[in-house]
């Protein structure tokens, strides 16, 4: 076969696979939400215990790492803004720059990337290894819908915990910036934080939180759908895990850019 034909063939196959993946993820989203709302009517109740357990794994267990890294990013932002704005003698604007960039962008982005690495990969690995060992089939023949049992709790937990973690990240990042910038600006950290709160508008916080909801959906769908699609044994699980992380982080960053564009016009 000629090279050109091969390229076209590959392009076509990739496109078809891509569209199929999108359709599958969309169906997963609709089914998960449907089971969450109306599953109890058809004997497929999404158990609160399962959601709570997922919330612990996705949210509570991630608190230390999210807090630590967002604190560090806040500190870094403080250092950079002081250096950059100091060149123009505009140190006093650091407060504003940190407050807006953290609540609109960095808090949610750091949280999203961390959770994609932590939970997106674990969804893919867990569901992938369950598919390989026929556990997903076993759930099916026991009359337990795998989407209801595995996907819906993950989605609900992410929808709750990602915004919560984002708020935590916002707080920790501003705290980090305050610790570095307050001495430079000759004010106490408390004053720094109070001034930040005065500067912030609800719209800033909402921008971050609305993104976090979208990220939650993206991370869950990518992780869960790659998990269900695993074939080829242990090696397949490994590949799916890697793919889940790469795809969900890419999806997050692209979605973030699109959101920023439309929310700031």
């Amino acid at each position: 076969m000629s090279l050109a034909l091969q390229l076209v063939w590959r392009l076509g196959k990739r496109s078809v696979d891509g569209v199929r993946g999108l359709g599958y993820a969309g169906a997963l989203l609709v089914e998960s939400l449907w089971f969450s709302v109306a599953g109890f009517r058809s004997g497929q109740t999404v158990r609160f215990a399962a959601v709570a357990e997922q919330m612990r794994q996705v949210g509570v267990d991630a608190v230390p790492i999210v807090a630590l890294l967002s604190f560090t990013v806040g500190l870094m932002l403080g250092i950079q803004f002081v250096a950059a704005l100091g060149d123009f003698g505009a140190e006093s604007q650091v407060l504003m720059a940190v407050a807006k960039s953290v609540t609109r962008e960095f808090g949610v982005l750091i949280t999203g990337i961390l959770i994609a690495g932590r939970s997106g990969s674990s969804f893919a690995a867990r569901i992938g290894s369950m598919s390989v060992s026929q556990e997903v089939d076993a759930l099916g023949v026991m009359g337990i819908d795998p989407v209801r049992y595995l996907a819906a709790p993950a989605l609900l937990a992410m929808l709750v915990m990602l915004p919560v973690l984002t708020i935590l990240a916002n707080v920790m990042a501003i705290l980090g910036a305050a610790l570095y910038c307050a001495p430079v600006l000759d004010i106490s950290p408390t004053v720094y934080i109070v001034q930040t709160l005065n500067l912030l508008e609800p719209g800033d916080i909402w921008q971050g939180l609305s993104k976090s909801v979208v990220f939650a959906v993206l991370i869950t769908l990518v992780g869960v759908s790659t998990g269900f699609g695993v074939s080829g044994g242990a090696e397949g699980v490994g590949r799916a895990t890697t793919r889940a992380v790469v795809y969900s982080i890419s999806a997050i960053i692209v979605a973030d850019m699109i959101f920023s564009f439309f929310l700031n016009r």
Binding site: G43, D137, G140, G143
Partner: protein
């Protein structure tokens, strides 16, 4: 359902995997209270037939009726009702690895009944006793031996007291003693719980020991169905190959062979 009505009724079932045809117009019937063994070499289509029987795959052409439900036409509610009356023990056990043995066995009860915790605990332990795993409920699946995993999976399959039990390769990967014990267990279950049992296996000894009737599958077609004696006495060459462990003759088509060797990659 009257006693004479078959529990499983498959008519003219075709199945495809990609472009390869796996099942060719299979007709298959199982009567209540029967132990049916589906035998066949690897790749004969027996796993595919099983996946259709347990409702994991919908028929491409032909019909599959299980316990009076047409699998092709059943809606979600009917499928759910059917699945509560089926038990399946998978080849690798397929126990949920994050749950203890006891939780695994209790899972169908938790999901499908409104029994209280005490009843669920007692019922799942009862079923573990049936499969001789009494007292093992707190172990994790990874701590069990191969034979124990199969028995635990069996306990989970029968916890809802199904009318119909499927058993995929009960003796695969087990030593002869444990495998014989599992055979005894299958016979005991039929007699004590009055289940209809379908076993998929390629182990000859085990098949002859437990089967009331044997169906032999070969290359997606049913060669013969009958009592174990009549199947053994069959003068079909392929069946005799299977029973006497004779290798299949390899046909070589020279043109096809050359074409495969020289064909360009897609």
């Amino acid at each position: 359902m009257s006693a004479a009505e078959p529990v499983i009724e498959v008519r003219q079932l075709d199945a495809f995997y990609g472009r390869r045809r796996i099942l060719h117009g299979v007709d298959f019937q199982v009567m209540p209270g029967e132990i049916r063994v589906i035998m066949g070499a690897s790749g004969s289509g027996k796993s595919t037939l099983l996946r259709h029987l347990i409702g994991l795959q919908r028929p491409h052409a032909g019909s599959v009726r299980i316990l009076g439900t047409d699998v092709a036409k059943a809606g979600p509610a009917e499928m759910l009702a059917l699945r509560r009356r089926l038990g399946v023990s998978f080849q690798g056990g397929a126990l949920i690895t994050s749950m203890s043995v006891g939780e695994n066995v209790a899972l169908p009860l938790r999901e499908h009944t409104r029994l209280d915790e005490n009843t669920i605990r007692i019922m799942s332990r009862l079923k573990l006793e049936v499969v001789n795993l009494g007292g093992f409920q707190d172990l994790m699946p990874s701590q069990l031996s191969g034979g124990m995993v199969k028995r635990a999976a069996l306990a989970r399959a029968i916890v809802m007291d199904p009318k119909l039990l499927f058993f995929d390769e009960p003796s695969a990967g087990l030593d002869p003693v444990v495998s014989a014990e599992l055979d005894e267990l299958i016979l005991k279950l039929r007699d004590a719980l009055r289940m209809t049992i379908v076993v998929v296996t390629h182990e000859l000894d085990s098949a002859l020991k437990i089967a009331d009737t044997i169906t032999v599958l070969d290359q997606g077609r049913i060669l013969e169905t009958g009592s174990s004696v009549s199947v053994q006495a069959s003068n079909n060459e392929r069946i005799q190959d299977l029973f006497h462990r004779r290798p299949r003759p390899v046909d070589v088509d020279v043109d096809e062979y050359l074409r495969r060797l020289t064909q360009e990659e897609l």
